[in-house]
Subunit: 129 residues, 2 copies
Amino acid sequence: MKIGELSKTSGCSIQTIRFYEKEGLLSDPERTEGNFRLYDVTALKQLEFVKHCRSLDISLIDIKRLIDLKNKPEESCSSVNALIAQQLALVKKRMKELKALKNELQQMASTCNSDNTIEGCGIIKSLDS
Amino acid sequence: MKIGELSKTSGCSIQTIRFYEKEGLLSDPERTEGNFRLYDVTALKQLEFVKHCRSLDISLIDIKRLIDLKNKPEESCSSVNALIAQQLALVKKRMKELKALKNELQQMASTCNSDNTIEGCGIIKSLDS
DNA sequence: ACTTGACTCTATAGTTACTATAGGTTTTAC
DNA sequence: GTAAAACCTATAGTAACTATAGAGTCAAGT
Ligand SMILES: [Zn+2]
Ligand SMILES: [Zn+2]
Ligand SMILES: [Zn+2]
Ligand SMILES: [Zn+2]
């Protein structure tokens, strides 16, 4: 299939596919005589792997590491495990941060009774302190 | 005070201060004869307002809007309220996303017993499906 | 007066993960 | 045969900074 079909099948935009290729996340595809990219099912699987990782917010660099690891099936999977653990830690950290943000934003929102002037707005007062 | 002192007092890096100025979040400061920026307490307060907003993950564009609103003290504060509500919605949405990520990552991590080969690793299997 | 070092200046490039053009070529359909 | 659709490369833009390069300014010490 050509890139347009891969794009539709995978749900990745054409530009993103070409971008992943440039970044080394997808192997260089065959080309037609006219230089069009040609993909097969293997390429689709590769792309879906990347998409799945991205849906977990794993960075492109880490995805590359995972791909490299995948290509060494005999080795211990402890690096994989570590990478996922680190990603989990990252997510947890960000969740904690967002929880704090949420609390402060809610607190602020509650100090505004909406039919007020900006001068007397509790939100602006909070932000100013 | 000069930019170095403002940087230390505020905890913002010098480059960030200049960047905020270029983006219109801080008013253009006075300059010495030798073209060095000169700040007073008002500038520090402005910067702290920006910092407080940023700590709530409010985008620079929205901070600019808030600053514009602050300069119209007579008007209704409903726009301020709306902006904060939107920010809160954004944070909540992201928290939901992260919660889903966390669940899937934890689920994945639990399928890896660490002293395995990559070939047999549950994490890789999850990512491949 | 001169030099050294700390501080500051502007302008520019890099970061992440894409997205969006511009300008050109190839293929497909009528 | 021609027009539209799909494809190609290369480049610039996004957000919110950070990090240089190369030059100018200023205070202290000799
Ligand atoms: Zn999944
Ligand atoms: Zn209010
Ligand atoms: Zn706060
Ligand atoms: Zn494993």
